[in-house]
């Protein structure tokens, strides 16, 4: 039957990699797009799928848009399960490459 697990594509891995980075706990969609160089047309469907699967969660930045003088940003952060799944996916890709360690 239907599975809620997102398909692991190169772009999904890029996004997960950026969110796993220790430099920042959370990032806005624009920041993720800049870091991964993924266009907005591809970025948001992936983020939504990751969020539906529970791998990523998002929340609005604190503050009123009127006080901030701009629209609020929505920040994304990776969840515990998302982190585990991402590391597993990276490991699965890295394992076959170890055979070519001599390269």
């Amino acid at each position: 039957m239907a599975t809620n697990e997102p398909r692991i594509t190169a772009q999904t891995l890029k996004i997960l990699g950026v969110l796993l980075s220790p430099e920042k706990d959370e990032m806005s969609g624009a920041e993720i797009g800049r870091s991964t160089e993924i266009a907005s047309g591809t970025l948001y469907p992936i983020l939504l799928r990751l969020e539906s699967a529970g791998w990523v969660k998002s929340e609005w930045e604190a503050g009123d848009p009127r006080e901030l003088g701009r629209p609020r940003r929505r920040f994304y952060r990776i969840t515990g399960i998302g982190g585990r799944k991402a590391r597993l996916a990276f490991r699965e890709i890295a394992l076959p490459l170890k055979e070519f360690a001599w390269l």
Partner: protein, 217 residues
Amino acid sequence: MALITGLWVFVVGVLTAVLAITVAEEIGAWSPWVVRSLIKFAVARLPQSQRERFEEEWQSHAAEVPGKFGKLFVCMGFVIAAHNMALIDRRSQVVEGLSRNLAQLDESHATLAMVVDLIRNEPTLATREDLSSLVNQLSSLLNESRQLRDRLATRLSSASAIPQTLVANLLYATYAAAIRRGGDEMSKHAAETNSLGAQIVTLVKEHTKRLSRVRSA
């Protein structure tokens, strides 16, 4: 002659530069309106529950992008994203709805199959010709219904395995139509089995009443 040609080239050059600056200024002036309109257009493609969130989120994203052309490019991306997100949502609604229907059908099949067994195993009921004929019809309908249900479940499973890319989601629409037709067929079958089931229940109730009157007499 060369001087006149040179003068013309200079004048055309200046006019072109002035036109380019004017066009750029116009684009610059219209850009915020175009950005807002593109975002509204994109958000209108989304399911109702997502519109408010993504309108604000995408306004904020566009605000973070430097340059007017950068903002326009990003907003065109939002339109593509919204189309894909709407397809994903429609797809998961079809899958969830049908999964729920299949679960309800399984429950109804189990109950009706139990009724058939009970009647066949009850000596006073099993001998009644009118009841026996209805029970046989119901049993045959249940078998057909189970086969239909299994075919639909297989179709649903194959459809769910289709990858979630924009092109695949567009092609999914064909599969979704086939699944919906299967669902309609199942509903017709379910209506027939329920109707037969109701007739059987009425007959059993009458029989039980008559039996209890005879016993009390």
